[in-house]
């Protein structure tokens, strides 16, 4: 399943890089510890977090993640948005908490972690 389809299905807000949604998603990864994401996520993962620090963009880039989903309607600051646009990382946002959106993605998409 592609990021675009997930965005449509779950009604995510696309905050940045709307032109980079045609990417296949390999699975989901939920964590708020960026060190953990750096160590354990896999390329193509869609990353569920509430961290909005601009480092998330670098981590996503570094690990070739497909997209970042910010939970609980968290809004990132200008720096993070700028960096995401510059690095072409899709930043998405949802009103759901991490547990719920992880659950929904896991159930609906059968995404492997």
């Amino acid at each position: 399943m592609k990021v675009k389809e997930i965005v449509d299905k779950f009604d995510f807000k696309v905050l940045t890089a709307p032109d980079r949604l045609d990417v296949e998603v390999s699975g989901g990864y939920a964590s708020d510890l960026l060190s953990d994401v750096m160590a354990n996520s896999r390329p193509g993962n869609i990353w569920i977090t509430l961290q909005t620090h601009q480092n998330i963009i670098a981590v996503a880039k570094l690990r070739s993640l497909a997209a970042i989903v910010l939970v609980n309607n968290r809004t990132p600051d200008a720096e993070t948005l700028k960096s995401a646009e510059a690095e072409h990382v899709p930043l998405l946002s949802t009103g759901d908490p991490a547990f719920k959106i992880s659950g929904k993605l896991y159930v609906r998409l059968g995404l492997k972690d």
Binding site: D32, L33, L34, S35, D36, V37, M38, Q51, H53, Q54, N55, A58, V59, D77, E79
Partner: protein, 246 residues
């Protein structure tokens, strides 16, 4: 100039997670026994016990730096160390304004503000253990604009450390040093993090027995933040004497 042994990161009984035995006199007595020359008093998001600590340290040859361990919104702990108590309290005012919640004593512990005898003056009611709504960059820049040193706490730990929470140190973040915890020898830390920034081991003591469990040795004229700042950038012959230099 001479060598100063500094434990730049200890808590007092004001921190809800610290033992009540962490009274000003108790701390100073223990620090004295452990031959500590400089103590950084860094309670969570508060500097309200610094004054009592300075009073208690007066009979001893121990310099007490006014400090605070601020929690950023990303849950990164950063130390701010100041010479001037007023500067620390100035920062505290801003931190309080961005610190939501009330303490729950049953869950987190008491937060007594004390005098030098350890007598409780009042209980702080803020949720000191919580995170501020300030971004990490804002915390560091506030510490610096108040004339303080900004040191990232216990970077070798997973929780509440800049590395654990954010994966790596953001480019251009103007930190003065990185603290390592007693759990990791300086050498290992240097290999692992290989930073351009100096490493300052500290105890992060929450109990008396933990004081001085890790420390940093400085070559200074006196035990002040101004002198340490010079040492961290190897200015005017001041220097950090850890690892290869110890």
């Amino acid at each position: 100039m001479k060598a100063f042994r500094a434990d730049l990161h200890i808590h007092t009984c004001l921190s809800p997670c610290a033992e009540l035995e962490m009274s000003p006199r108790g701390i100073i007595r223990t620090a004295s026994e452990k031959e500590i020359d400089i103590l950084g008093v860094c309670d969570h998001n508060s500097a309200e016990n610094v004054s009592a600590m300075r009073d208690a340290a007066r009979p001893f040859r121990i310099s007490v730096l006014a400090g605070m361990e601020v929690t950023s919104q990303e849950e990164v702990h950063v130390l701010g160390l100041f010479d001037s108590l007023d500067s620390a309290l100035g920062l505290q005012e801003i931190v309080y304004a961005h610190l939501p919640g009330e303490n729950d004593e049953d869950a987190f512990g008491l937060q007594p503000v004390v005098n030098e005898q350890g007598e409780v003056l009042r209980f702080n009611e803020k949720l000191l253990i919580g995170a501020t709504t300030l971004a990490l960059e804002e915390v560091v820049s506030l510490i610096r604009s108040h004339g303080g040193l900004a040191i990232a706490s216990h970077i070798d730990r997973e929780g509440f450390s800049i590395i654990g929470q954010l994966g790596f140190i953001p480019d251009g973040l103007p930190l003065d040093a990185l603290e390592t915890s007693p759990a990791m020898p300086v050498e290992t830390a240097r290999q692992k993090f290989g930073s351009r920034l100096p490493l300052t081991p500290a105890s992060d003591a929450h109990r008396l027995e933990e004081i001085g469990r890790a420390s940093t040795s400085f070559w200074l004229v006196e035990g002040t933040v101004a002198e340490i700042r010079k040492a961290l950038v190897r200015q005017d012959g001041r220097k950090v004497m850890n690892g290869e230099e110890a």
